[in-house]
Symmetry: C2
């Protein structure tokens, strides 16, 4: 075999090797992007029993009058919240839904770090569950600077964003037309993490009282 042909074969080999590497990167990128969660939940949700989400071993053992074994927008929402394994940051205008409170307290008892920022006025209205969260030892900070702290978002494990039009109330879940976006898209998640950290620091009681 001539030297020219050896060189040609070698060059082709190099090209094939580098392109294989690019292909692997591409496949990895594709798989990574395919794995990025983007989901929309539409409300009102059907009303169904969600006991199995709190006590997975109780499937088939709940005798309440609600339909069982039905996946609803609300059960999906609960599932995403309960998927938190290290942290849950909540920034909520209004929080009176008992099942959502139960989910948050369950996570707190499991050792998940919970932080809550709420609207000062709405944290004290009838039915608000903010008092229960505080009683359970969860850190809650109130925002009073603006007319309303109207956000309604949660960040799970600094990775998953849950946001939309839905206030965390029973009426919103069962009676209103609402939407909730669930996304891991970093370009969407990061600004919400930044906003949460900003409001968390801004409403630190130590800072607020020092400025009085």
């Amino acid at each position: 075999m001539s030297l020219t042909w050896s060189l040609k074969a070698f060059s082709l080999g190099v090209v094939a090797f580098s392109l294989s590497l690019e292909l692997l990167c591409w496949l990895f990128g594709r798989l990574k992007h395919r794995g990025t969660l983007n989901k929309v939940l539409i409300f009102p949700s059907e009303v169904a029993c969600v006991e199995y989400l709190f006590r997975p071993n109780s499937v088939g053992l709940c005798f309440c009058g609600l339909p069982h074994g039905v996946e609803t927008s609300f059960s999906h929402l609960l599932r995403y919240i309960l998927s938190a394994s290290s942290s849950l940051d909540l920034c909520l205008f209004s929080f009176s839904n008992i099942d959502l409170k139960r989910a948050v307290i369950l996570l707190h008892e499991k050792g998940v770090t919970i932080r809550v920022v709420v609207d000062k006025d709405y944290s004290a209205i009838t039915g608000s569950q903010i008092g229960c969260l505080r009683k359970a030892g969860i850190r809650v900070r109130c925002e009073a600077d603006y007319v309303h702290m109207h956000h309604k978002f949660a960040v799970v494990d600094s990775r998953l964003l849950i946001t939309g039009s839905l206030n965390w109330t029973l009426t919103a879940v069962q009676c209103n037309r609402e939407n909730v976006i669930i996304t891991e898209e970093a370009e969407l998640v990061q600004p919400f993490i930044k906003e949460f950290e900003r409001l968390w620091v801004l409403n630190d009681p130590a800072r607020v009282y020092n400025n009085l």
Copy 2:
């Protein structure tokens, strides 16, 4: 050159060619994904003059007392709405913001197809701009079936989703802590388009009166 080497060189050529094709697809995919808009606007917005968005030729000619030449969350929001070239679908709980009404009417006058679904109770409150939209000839349908039609989203050209916690009011824009997501992510946009079409058909007056 032996036949074996020719075959080897040929195989390598084929591999290199197919991998080059894959590489081109990857590059195309990357560029396409990079072009997908994902943006978050945080409110309250600074207050600034937005006249230049309605009359691009008026830059430098407005003498109102507001700051000029300042980009704010609200000016970004207006820009995305005004980018509509064929259609704008609005699904809004409350609509009393004068600048947003002006933007919608401007688009209507330019020939953009506008459809609006609103909450029946909130469409009639003091300051609501729904009457002005109707007077301008824009089709508006009212949702009265549920406690609240609490959505607050817009779909621009069946492609761009604008949604979040922000009601289309002056208080929400200037005084509340709010968020708006702007996205072209199809997995997020499509369910909102589907929800809009569903509510549009459900609240068709012909259908509603036939069912009375």
